[in-house]
Symmetry: C2
Subunit: 283 residues, 2 copies
């Protein structure tokens, strides 16, 4: 997916957030923003937002020497999500299938990071978010595909979300070989292997790195190991906006599982902002 003009201010804001997390030194924050602005001005050199985002966030790492500016945030997010796990697991809204329930739980994880940033009452937010139905839901096609499937690849997104994905992975692992892929190295609040291991998800699946350090699985930067799994898996589920931006033009069938958190992504998905989506691409 191309970079929208709306992405530019958003990415600049996010780099400043990263800079402010990494250092309290305002002069250093300024240096980071100056460099980031230069990179942002050449946004047309990048194929998609995650690719550009990685380069901009690398400035934060290079200037501060801090490899994981969101380390504490991710730690907090995972801890909070683990505390919520009993509520997640006791979620008993009626769904046509246990599969649908597990998919909805996983999708709901996609929004918890924003709620945590805003210091909202997490338990209340979680319950209300779980209750919301998918606005677009290609479950019929998915159930068709899964009948013939043996292997499923899930490409993870942010760190706290992994706890929610664990429920889906646990469910799927009863009948399928599940691989769960995460970012290769720290980027914003996305899960790396180190983060994901804290959730216990590895008990139910094989864990891999995408080989890519962008906040979305940009295939050109992924490892051959990951690409092998990506191409050979019977089913691929992509979590979150970053992976959607990186993979929306892929020529293999992918199921995108996410909440539309910004107007542009919502428009691309033909839904309103804040709506949940489980949507296959056209292939």
């Amino acid at each position: 997916m191309k970079i929208f003009l709306d992405c530019l201010p958003c990415m600049l804001r996010q780099v400043l957030e990263g800079a402010q997390m990494a250092t309290g030194d305002e002069q250093l924050q300024k240096t980071i923003m100056d460099k980031a602005l230069k990179i942002l001005s050449s946004y047309e050199a990048y194929s998609n937002a995650p690719e550009l985002s990685e380069v901009m966030h690398n400035v934060v790492k290079e200037c501060t020497g801090i490899d994981d500016p969101y380390g504490n945030i991710k730690k907090r997010d995972i801890e909070e999500a683990l505390k919520l796990e009993p509520i997640i697991r006791s979620f008993d809204k009626f769904y046509a299938s246990r599969l649908m329930r597990a998919l909805k739980i996983s999708a709901t994880g996609n929004v918890m990071d924003s709620a945590m940033y805003k210091d909202l009452d997490l338990e209340a937010v979680l319950k209300s978010e779980l209750e919301k139905d998918f606005m677009v839901c290609d479950i019929d096609s998915f159930e068709d595909d899964i009948k013939r499937a043996k292997s499923i690849l899930i490409i993870g997104d942010n760190a706290g979300e992994v706890v929610f994905d664990k429920v889906l992975v646990e469910y799927l692992s009863r009948d399928y070989e599940v691989v769960y892929a995460v970012r290769d190295r720290p980027i914003i609040n996305d899960a790396t292997l180190e983060d994901a291991y804290k959730t216990g998800i590895q008990d139910y699946c094989r864990m891999v790195s995408t080989g890519c350090g962008a906040p979305g699985a940009v295939l050109d930067s992924c490892s051959s190991e990951f690409l092998g799994i990506f191409n050979s898996s019977d089913i691929v589920i992509s979590k979150g906006q970053g992976n959607f931006e990186a993979l929306s033009d892929s020529s293999r069938r992918i199921y995108f599982l996410l909440k539309a958190k910004c107007h542009r992504i919502a428009k691309s998905l033909d839904v309103d902002i804040d709506e949940y989506v489980f949507k296959k691409n056209i292939f």
Copy 2:
């Protein structure tokens, strides 16, 4: 006030908003953003955010040929505010003085534009905002100053807000010569003379342009007529964030009347975000 790093993404977002209001042509929007990014990258050449903001928004005007991209928004804001006028005028929370009540009404106008953008229930928002007290309130000092005053200058901010300021101006005009100043030319959703006249405020005061087209009265760009009034008025009341950013370093006494709408401005005012302030500068 210097430009904070936090201002940069915010200003970029606002220019995109202006570009999208002025034209649906995405190629033209892109040209605007490319030029705006170049200007933003030289942010250090500007003394304050309103000055930089004006230059960036001029790109929208130049590229689209549209002199007032927010024209319809301002029209709507003023119409909505005029519809709310009976509610504003019937506001009867107990205050120590009628002056305080009028000041609080005027300050409340400062937030109505954001509420309108978000499509909130305006009447409910208005009532709840009116009820909120000032977090900082230099009313004692103001009442001291006003005893000796004959002339009062109020520097206006956004268009819809003028309807609220009218209540304050009407009250003050009984005992003082009031001048109400607005932007010289269209900039974002700020009031120009043309906008302000639609509210009827001119019945209670002398109207002037600041001579400046920035979204804040940047004194270096103001007309000699305005500077004469600014320097000779016994009391100056500055409305909104833009004027605060432009005038916070001024060496004359100014009373800033606003709601802190962003974290940085809130911090500068020693309050939390979303709090109301009536605060004199140190002089």
